[in-house]
């Protein structure tokens, strides 16, 4: 108990609170700026943390981490550009809310949902970390495959239009995901001789092109001599109102739980978490049909899920030193440079450090809220800039952002190219969100599936011997069947 109180006092020291604040600030800014993701931000700042005190360094890293998660949502809502993969889902309802003049409440709900879910996951982490971490070790390649299948299936439910077209977009996404050098055999696929494409088509250029630039191109059409701005209804209110809270309560609750479970397991990531929570919300919400047209719970659910997943991802790291995502691997490197080896030894030998880290996560969550709520007013003002001035800035934002990822001009070209593709997709009524999510899931599915087959000597039986994988696959199957079934039921009701 003494150690806990001690750790608490360490965390609340003014300089550590300052570090938390700086971390969150930098993280949020980095998250807002496209291209430079949390990995890059953390590694940029890693050396600065090397010098200082261990706890301070970790606090700042945690702040950056949480900050980037939230920052990505800001651009998703304001200008329909996902700051990172998990924010793609937030774009769907978030941007529509912004167009309705409700950007403030959307941003606010995203912040609150993130905070609540984040705190929830840290609490759970403190209480039940070790047994949960054990569970993480039961996840192998077959389970990853099943998770990817689940993700792809749920993905379809994100669509609000024709099912066939949704599946087509998923197929195109998978095809794009194939581009690059095959990791298992080293054979180049669809690279057309461009060595820049050997690592595949990056997510960021595609996202910024399909969402950012395409949106701009579509809006540019409407700029005429007289009207200099896109019709965005006047901003009504800066924070979510009571009705919003009522609508989002369930979303936040299920988002926290779903996100936590998915974030916990290796193979689960914030993307799957946000998709799953969103899909679930569509199913269980009374106005499920409207989710996708600008409903506040469509923002609350994925935001809660991805923050909860973020917290849960710390569990395997802290209890076993197993990093489940590249960002975690970075944090691990950061820890190790300080001589902090995460694992059961950490709790025993350096409890103050362990608890210090946990509490810094709480603080990080609070800091996010404190930092971002006042900023909402500022962000909303950005929308007031006349579109004639705003849209070139958005284009620039996307282009420069994609360059900074890898210092590669090819990626900038890709962004422009996908901008055009996205424009035509809009005109022909195909949904870009599905393509992007499939682009991410496809390679995961292929890699895990192939590996599962290698492990089992080439037959699919391995799946039947693994209960966890089978259950996840069954859930996917149920989901898949539920679409035509619900449609049939609705038709019958309408006819009756």
């Amino acid at each position: 108990m003494d150690t806990i109180l001690f750790a608490l006092s360490v965390v609340f020291r003014p300089e550590n609170l300052l570090f938390a604040f700086i971390g969150c600030l930098i993280g949020t800014l980095v998250g807002v700026l496209p291209g430079i993701g949390p990995t890059a931000a953390i590694s940029l700042l890693l050396p600065t943390t090397f010098r200082g005190d261990v706890v301070s360094g970790l606090i700042m890293l945690a702040g950056i981490f949480y900050g980037t998660q939230y920052g990505g949502s800001t651009t998703s809502i304001l200008v329909n550009i996902p700051g990172e993969a998990a924010s793609v889902v937030t774009c769907i309802d978030g941007y529509k809310l912004a167009l309705k003049g409700r950007a403030g409440p959307a941003l606010g709900m995203a912040a609150f949902a993130s905070y609540i879910a984040g705190t929830f996951s840290v609490v759970l982490l403190t209480l039940v970390a070790p047994p949960l971490a054990e569970m993480a070790l039961h996840f192998g390649s077959p389970e990853f495959t099943a998770m990817a299948v689940l993700g792809l299936t749920l993905l379809i439910s994100l669509s609000s239009g024709s099912m066939v077209k949704a599946f087509m977009m998923a197929a195109v996404g998978v095809i794009l995901g194939v581009v690059g050098v095959d990791p298992t055999t080293g054979a180049p696929r669809f690279t057309f001789g461009f060595y820049e494409l050997e690592d595949g088509v990056g997510l960021a250029p595609v996202a910024m092109g399909l969402f950012g630039i395409a949106e701009v191109l579509a809006n540019v059409e409407k700029i005429t001599q007289e009207q200099r701005s896109i019709v965005i209804e006047k901003v009504k209110g800066l924070l979510p109102n009571l009705q919003d809270w009522k609508d989002s309560a369930v979303a936040i609750a299920q988002g926290s739980v779903v996100g936590f479970l998915i974030g916990l397991v290796p193979g689960g990531n914030t993307i799957i978490a946000s998709i799953s929570s969103y899909a679930l919300q569509k199913r269980i919400s009374k106005r499920g049909d409207k989710v996708g047209t600008g409903m506040i719970e469509g923002v609350a659910a994925p935001e809660a899920a991805n923050n909860s997943a973020t917290g849960a991802a710390f569990i395997p790291l802290l209890t076993f030193g197993i990093p489940t995502t590249p960002v975690m691997a970075l944090l691990l490197a950061g820890c190790m440079v300080h001589g902090v080896i995460p694992g059961p030894l950490l709790i025993k030998e350096q409890p103050s450090l362990f608890w210090g880290l946990i509490f810094s996560m709480y603080v990080g969550n609070i800091m996010l809220l404190v930092l971002n709520l006042p900023l909402i007013g500022l962000w909303v003002k950005v929308l007031r800039i006349p579109y004639g001035i705003l849209f070139p800035l958005i284009i620039l934002f996307c282009l420069v952002g994609s360059y900074t990822l890898n210092n590669s001009l090819v990626e900038v070209g890709l962004t422009a190219f996908f901008g055009l593709v996205g424009f035509f997709m809009r005109k022909f009524e195909y949904e870009p969100a599905l393509l992007i999510l499939a682009l991410v899931m496809g390679p995961i599915l292929e890699e895990s599936l192939r590996r599962s087959l290698t492990l089992s000597g080439g037959n699919l039986e391995i799946f039947f011997h693994r209960p966890i994988a089978m259950s996840i696959l069954l859930i996917s199957l149920l989901f898949l069947i539920s679409f035509p079934v619900t449609r049939m039921i609705r038709k019958r009701k309408a006819e009756a």
Binding site: A171, F190, L396, T404, L420, Y430
Partner: protein, 153 residues
């Protein structure tokens, strides 16, 4: 008939077939496992089938009264889109040639003037301020190492 659906469906059929074909080249199997061509074949095949399905659906409903929505919003709209896209696509080439600051300035000035039709002084002020801000944020603060032109800047 929904021409857009029919047209795009046919387009995707072609894409699907191309991917399928390339996938077959890469090989369906390798060492008792899925070869590098497996997924392309699967996805390409799926795309082809789905596109054919979409096409069939569109043909089936061709008699239904669908209002003819014009493709472009206004008569000259496509020029604006085309020009915007052109300068966007030219940007990476400009970056390579004249470096970040100048390319950005050119892009902004062109868009502000040609598309948004702002007054010249607004164009220049906003352009310079924006280019400088981007420069400071990305190059100085984030040390992103933006491209330099042939004169080193």
């Amino acid at each position: 008939m929904n021409v857009r659906n029919a047209g795009s469906a046919l387009f995707f059929v072609c894409v699907g077939v191309a991917v399928l074909w390339k996938g077959l080249h890469l090989g369906l199997r390798s060492d008792q496992n899925m070869g590098p061509g497996f997924f392309p074949i699967l996805a390409g095949g799926a795309l082809t089938l789905l596109s054919l399905l979409l096409f069939a659906q569109t043909i089936r409903h061709r008699k239904s009264a669908e209002p003819r929505v014009s493709f472009w919003v206004s008569r000259n709209a496509w020029e604006k889109v085309f020009l915007t896209f052109l300068v966007t696509a030219a940007y990476p080439f400009m970056l390579n040639l004249v470096g970040f600051f100048l390319s950005t300035l050119i892009l902004l000035i062109f868009l502000f003037r040609a598309i948004s039709r702002l007054k010249w002084w607004v164009v220049w002020t906003a352009g310079v301020i924006a280019a400088m801000s981007f420069y400071f944020v990305f190059e100085i603060w984030l040390r992103a190492n933006l491209p330099r032109g042939f004169w080193g800047f």
